[in-house]
Symmetry: C2
């Protein structure tokens, strides 16, 4: 069998399993998740042995540092992964919820009910614990999953997947509720993207290249977790201490993530007071500043350093200790800059002026718009969703943090007494 028909057969099994899985209730699902945690714990030795194989191969291929570390299923990561399952078990079960219920003048009674999406494909890179984290969220909402992990983590993912499947079976769920592609061949991604008959959704989690491939090839809906070119805008009425605290947190607390700040916009009227203060604090935190001409000259007059920003800097997702800085005239110019260069992920205003804040919150077209808070709060845990599969940068279906509810669809249940259409 060639890759394409092998993957088609696998996806077809996922669809069949999906119709079976949809019949099971919340308690059964939670029991299955509990068994999965048990099997992971029981098979920890085998899983870590498989992981050691992957780590050896990665080292032999020259992988080092953070990249190698991400692959490592050490006791700490393993423990968090299992603990994560127990947290998901505790979350409310959303499937079957009646979202709306109404009657029509002709006597038809309608219910709009939350249902599983169906079959979800997840394509991810490197970190093997995603195999468990993502599967568990999909299963909690009665979705079957087809996983395609990174080639470096192939043996780890296989071992993890076996434990998940054993847990499903023990609770009476179909074994094929969780499946891992049998190959990490790149052609398998394309083949998966063409299974729109059997897959309802693909979620790509990874670098820009992966996301572009999936977006171009997929014939089913895709929910992207793309880049965050996030802005912090300091309005002239920003409290200086709050401005400093928020900018430092948004830039430095975890610079490698999508909700970290990449560009600072400062009102011209407040820049002489705010900018030198901020530049000192940021320099102390090891942040390199790249300013427009006005910002650079202002900082130079204050005896501080900043390199000149190019057009590319306004479009950059540094994911590093670098911050682009631009002086703007007012909130209008700030919003125009954000709409022109931003990625509509997370944008922040710092101001004591309620009217200006509300104008910014209403008008900036981003998944999360924040007032006097760090952009780092944009995630499913901080929002109170209990878990997240990622932060969607799309505007359809799910925008921002994707928790359990965002992993569901709905259908209409219509009850009549023999009504026909005139």
């Amino acid at each position: 069998m060639n890759i394409s028909s092998e993957i088609q057969a696998l996806c077809k099994r996922a669809r069949t399993a999906g119709h079976d899985l949809a019949r099971h209730d919340g308690p059964t699902i939670n029991r299955a998740l509990g068994y999965m945690a048990d099997y992971l714990q029981a098979q920890k030795g085998d899983i870590q042995a498989a992981n050691a194989r992957d780590l050896d191969a990665a080292q032999a291929e020259g992988l080092t540092g953070a990249k190698l570390q991400r692959l490592n299923l050490d006791d700490r990561v393993f423990g968090q992964m299992v603990e994560g399952i127990h947290q998901v078990i505790e979350l409310p079960y959303p499937v079957g919820e009646v979202l709306r219920e109404w009657s029509r003048p002709n006597g038809l009674h309608l219910r709009k009910m939350r249902v599983p999406i169906g079959v979800i494909g997840i394509i991810y890179e490197s970190r093997p614990n995603v195999t468990v984290d993502a599967s568990v969220l999909c299963l909690k909402t009665n979705n079957t999953v087809v996983l395609r992990g990174g080639s470096e983590a192939f043996h780890s993912n296989q071992a993890l997947c076996e434990a998940l499947r054993a847990g499903a079976v023990k609770a009476g769920l179909p074994e094929d509720a969780v499946q891992l592609l049998p190959t990490t061949d790149r052609a398998a991604i394309t083949a998966l993207c063409h299974q729109d008959k059997y897959l309802d959704l693909i979620i790509p989690r990874g670098g820009e290249g992966l996301i572009r491939t999936v977006t171009a090839e997929a014939r089913m809906p895709v929910l992207k977790h793309f880049d965050g070119i996030c802005h912090v805008y300091l309005h002239r009425e920003a409290d200086p201490a709050m401005a400093e605290s928020i900018v430092l947190n948004a830039k430095c607390q975890k610079p490698g993530v999508c909700n970290a700040a990449e560009t600072l916009l400062v009102d011209r009227d407040a820049a002489p007071e705010l900018l030198p203060r901020l530049a000192k604090a940021l320099a102390a935190a090891g942040v390199e500043l790249r300013g427009d001409a006005e910002a650079v000259s202002l900082l130079e007059r204050a005896g501080l350093e900043a390199s000149p920003a190019s057009e590319d800097d306004w479009k950059a997702e540094y994911l590093d200790l670098i911050l682009a800085v631009k002086i703007v005239g007012d909130v209008e110019e700030a919003i125009a800059h954000i709409h022109r260069y931003g990625s509509a992920h997370t944008d922040v205003i710092v101001t004591a002026n309620i009217a200006v804040a509300e104008e910014f919150l209403q008008r900036v077209d981003s998944a999360a718009v924040m007032w006097n808070a760090s952009s780092r709060f944009h995630d499913g845990f901080a929002f109170g969703f209990g878990a997240e599969i990622g932060i969607s940068t799309d505007k359809l279906h799910a925008r921002g943090p994707m928790g359990l509810e965002e992993l569901t669809s709905y259908k209409y249940l219509v009850s009549g007494q023999g009504q026909v259409r005139e």
Copy 2:
């Protein structure tokens, strides 16, 4: 300029217009829609002259009958089109609605607010009134639209689009809130499908070929309005008169639409009573039956006619006076058949048994599942949405009738007092 860069420039204008359009409130939008209706009425002569040009060309190319009629903007269609705008003006304005509002233990306050999707591309065939119907629904929800109509209706669409743009401008909205592609070249569809930077959504309305092209090429979300292989299942406890009335209505009231029935499933226990009665009524309505071996032999014994169904008949969307008929053992077999061959659009059970009905409603994975009612009720008007842009066969974002709410997205507005992440 080549087609691709021309369309890119057009979509970029749509994005800019979208940020402007998002600032206008419900009353302004409604005023604009009113002006659009006025301009259409005032320019009716020009529009019908343009339409006559299209009709002449279509006739010269040999178009006749229903296909030619669909192109015709006669006084009746024109009147309905203008009246449709006034109906949309009367609908509640959904943008800005706070869907959920809550606070977190750290004092952050969150609002989940309904916002426009942004820029919507609509690709449709033939009927020029879609230019107005679809634009008006998108504009009511502050979305800008990029239209690509059929080549046969090009001059009509241009004239209609001019009136819509004039109405927008008179109310102070951006002219580019509505744009029509300047060419109906097929390459323009591909170019449009690649503008994921400027287009948030594409809605293809048309035949299977168009939908397959858009699905394969699009890099942004697509909401398909695809086929309806709809089933009516007659359970052994179906009331015979109700069964006859529903089957006739579902099949014959408007056979060319997606929510018409295509396959009849009949419980073995009830078939000897139900099937001959139904076959007579359907034959009188001019319906051809294609049955499985058991159904054919049962009907033959009753002196009635049915041709044998092939495997293809279970997958057929006839859109015509043809009905496939299959005998099943029970609700279990009916559901299995629907999941195997159906298109998850609309499926109906007729029964007096509440428990069986609820089992069917819960388990059939279709956009609308109905009990004792005709499948023809599956649309936005019958559901009480006031309008619809179509019936989505996708499970993501919108499933079933797409009314105004389904043309919106949401964003999170987060207010703090200086909170930063630990």
